[in-house]
């Protein structure tokens, strides 16, 4: 049994158990070789650097040939409904769809319309399940089953990464809190998920501070000073799902001096491995 119990969609990190997540991470570590050549659909209707590249690369490595759905191309089909557009793809021999869109619930509709296993590469402010799995895997690799105190820092309100991480990290037994930047948005986010708020001076007590990007494309501006070295305790690790806006999300000195407590590049590596493993489960190949 894999995380997905076969060729299924991953739309949310709800209902992922600690046990299945840990087994899933273990399988990523047991990498072997693979064979068949299949096709996958990549539909990124929002800019993406690492998510798209890691999916594309992992897929190619597994013998998957990708077809890109260009948003420009889609807009040429003027008057055609999204539903009609995606039902067309159902007729093609795709084994998997990977989609990202600014609208919440988009991946779920694609899965419904195409009836093809669909991986949600980000839907609006709603979820980013593969990133949360990558982050959880990063922590699991470093700390194994240790219960961690994780504090989210930055624009949680507009962050789909934050939403998926809150759900998944809690399911894995970690203690999740939110840095109180004193904005009503952050406070209502914490209330919506029943998370404790932590003052800036107490960030140093965290095992991990997960900084999130300022979502300028969703109308956000930096509310507070970036995360600096002075905020962190001697044992605090730092994460960021990327791309890091240096000196806006995190100060340069943190990235420079944190050494192995800087988990940001680990997250990138984990992102690749997690996505590769998910594709392998859908394609039914042993990695």
């Amino acid at each position: 049994m894999g995380l997905l119990a076969g060729a299924q969609s991953l739309l949310t990190v709800q209902n992922i158990s600690k046990k299945s997540a840990h087994e899933f991470f273990q399988k990523i570590n047991n990498v072997k070789s693979l064979k068949p050549s299949k096709q996958g659909l990549l539909g990124f209707f929002e800019p993406s650097t690492r998510t798209r590249a890691s999916f594309e690369s992992a897929g190619l490595d597994l013998g998957l040939r990708w077809i890109n759905v260009d948003p420009g191309e889609l807009s040429l089909r003027k008057g055609e409904s999204l539903r009609d557009t995606f039902q067309v793809f159902a007729a093609y021999p795709f084994s998997v769809c990977v989609v990202r869109h600014s609208m919440s619930g988009f991946a779920a509709k694609v899965a419904e319309w195409t009836q093809i296993p669909t991986l949600n590469a980000g839907d609006g402010m709603h979820e980013h399940p593969t990133q949360a799995l990558a982050d959880a895997y990063t922590l699991w690799k470093r700390f194994k089953a240790k219960k961690l105190k994780v504090i989210l820092f930055g624009d949680v309100f507009r962050s789909r990464v934050a939403r998926s991480n809150v759900i998944l990290l809690k399911a894995l037994g970690h203690q999740v809190a939110v840095h109180d930047d004193e904005t009503s948005e952050t406070r209502s986010f914490a209330a919506a998920y029943k998370l404790p708020l932590v003052a800036r001076k107490n960030l140093s007590k965290a095992d991990v501070v997960m900084a999130l990007r300022v979502q300028s494309e969703r109308g956000s501006a930096a509310a507070v000073e970036p995360l600096g070295l002075r905020d962190l305790g001697a044992k605090t690790s730092v994460m960021h799902p990327g791309p890091v806006i240096v000196n806006q999300d995190i100060q340069f000195d943190v990235l420079e001096t944190q050494g192995e407590r800087n988990l940001i590049l680990d997250q990138v590596q984990s992102g690749y491995l997690v996505r590769r493993r998910l594709l392998a489960e859908i394609l039914g190949v042993a990695q």
Binding site: S81, L82, R83, H101, M103, S104, G105, F106, A108, K109, E112, D123, G124, M125, H126, E127, F157, R160, R163, S188, F189, A191, A192, Y193
Partner: protein, 424 residues
């Protein structure tokens, strides 16, 4: 034929009473507020026992569709639902395709709804294509047998146009039905600003978008006088200012839809993304606190009309992402049952129930209702104890979050002009 029930609604007394009545040529010809007297042969009596007999409902807020949207609903399918739902008359909104924004289209509408078992009257649009920019020909339109003016579906943001339209409707002794939404605040009215919206990753819509507009229009009403009708109220703040306006003596009426009376935003989390669009209405369905305030508004009279905002949409408009989906849901087919559910949840007296269901909207629409000699014999036989499974069948659309749900109260027979037009 002689009719009898131990529980016929007596408006004067404000209670159910035993009544025996006769109908001739479609009208009540004789009503005795008592059991049948001695000599009448039993077989001549249609005896409803303990079932409730009440006046048919009147619905001031219907989106009829038809015309270029006959794939969503036609006047025929709408009529069938009204008969089954226990609604004998209603007012239709102007956002048909084409819009009811000129005399020619209004006349076409009036022609299409004449000679039906139910009474339907239109609102004409306040502005051309409901765009809020160019006024329609109010003087000519208001001479037609219409209810009044409404841009429902869209607000009238231009206060100057609003004032002018109020003056025109007042002169014609008609009124404006309002869609109160400050679209600068409502952020496309996706989901009520709440923890649910945060968890769903959907931008929240604040109550202030409605309350601000209700306040503005009450200010204008103070200045211009006449009557204003507030459609589909959703927010506690609106109830508060309406209550104050009433106390002040302003002439206002206000609606509650079945969905704002039954659901709260928390319920949206019970729907996955494939069904969630059925929950999407404008104004949005708000918090349990707002719903409690709406119930209180019914009890204290701040809200005095039930109105469905029946809004059929096909799969094309609803089988899409939540963001893109059209607003609105259907409800007409189970009108009495849905409002009986509201009555029970709101702990509403039967008096308030019938006032909101029939008497007040009938007065505004200008159609008589009730058990009185000479009145058209339009009434409903209802069992408040029996439950109904809401399997919508008669509309051309299926957009309802209540699909398949069970609610309390079952409509047994609907009489219109003394004839049974629907029997369960």
């Amino acid at each position: 034929m002689i009719f009898f029930s131990r529980r016929v609604w007596n408006r004067q007394r404000g209670q159910f009473m035993p009544a025996t009545f006769e109908i001739q040529r479609g009208r009540f010809s004789k009503i005795e507020w008592a059991a049948p007297q001695g000599t009448v042969a039993k077989k001549k009596i249609k005896d409803f026992g303990d079932l409730i007999l009440g006046p048919s409902a009147v619905d001031l807020h219907i989106h009829s569709r038809d015309f270029r949207e006959s794939h969503k609903e036609t006047f025929e399918t709408l009529e069938a639902q009204m008969l089954k739902g226990g609604v004998s008359a209603g007012a239709c909104m102007a956002n048909t395709q084409p819009r009811l924004d000129d005399v020619k289209t209004i006349d076409e509408f009036l022609k299409r709804v004449s000679k039906r078992l139910v009474t339907l009257k239109p609102f004409a649009a306040v502005s051309k294509n409901l765009e809020g920019r160019e006024p329609t020909d109010w003087d000519a339109l208001l001479k037609r047998p219409i209810v009044g003016l409404s841009d429902d579906g869209k607000p009238i943001l231009d206060s100057e146009m609003m004032k002018a339209a109020m003056k025109a409707t007042k002169k014609a002794r008609k009124f404006i039905s309002l869609h109160e939404e400050d679209t600068c605040i409502s952020k496309a009215s996706l989901l009520h600003e709440s923890h649910v919206a945060i968890r769903s990753g959907i931008e929240g819509s604040s109550s202030e978008s409605e309350v601000a507009m209700v306040k503005r229009d009450l200010d204008l009403l103070r200045e211009i006088k006449g009557h204003l009708h507030f459609g589909h109220m959703s927010a506690s703040g609106s109830v508060r200012v309406l209550k104050a306006a009433r106390r002040e003596g302003l002439s206002v009426s206000a609606e509650l839809t079945p969905h704002h009376g039954i659901l709260s935003v928390e319920d949206s989390e019970g729907f996955d993304w494939s069904q969630k669009t059925f929950f999407k209405v404008c104004p949005v369905i708000r918090s349990t606190e707002d719903r409690a305030a709406l119930w209180q508004g019914l009890r204290d009279g701040a809200i005095d009309c039930f109105a469905s905002d029946h809004a059929p949409h096909s799969r094309l408009e609803k089988d899409t992402t939540y963001t893109l989906a059209a607003h609105g849901m259907i409800s007409m087919e189970f009108y009495w049952t849905l409002y009986n559910e509201v009555r029970l949840r709101a702990d509403l007296s039967w008096k308030k129930f019938f006032d909101c269901l029939s008497y007040r909207p009938a007065e505004l629409l200008g159609v008589p209702v009730g058990f009185e000699v000479g009145q058209s014999a339009d009434f409903v036989v209802f069992d408040p104890e029996e439950t109904t499974a809401l399997h919508f069948q008669l509309s051309k659309s299926r957009n309802s979050p209540f699909l398949g749900k069970t609610m309390r109260g079952a409509l047994k027979v609907h009489y219109k002009g003394g004839h049974s037009v629907y029997e369960a």
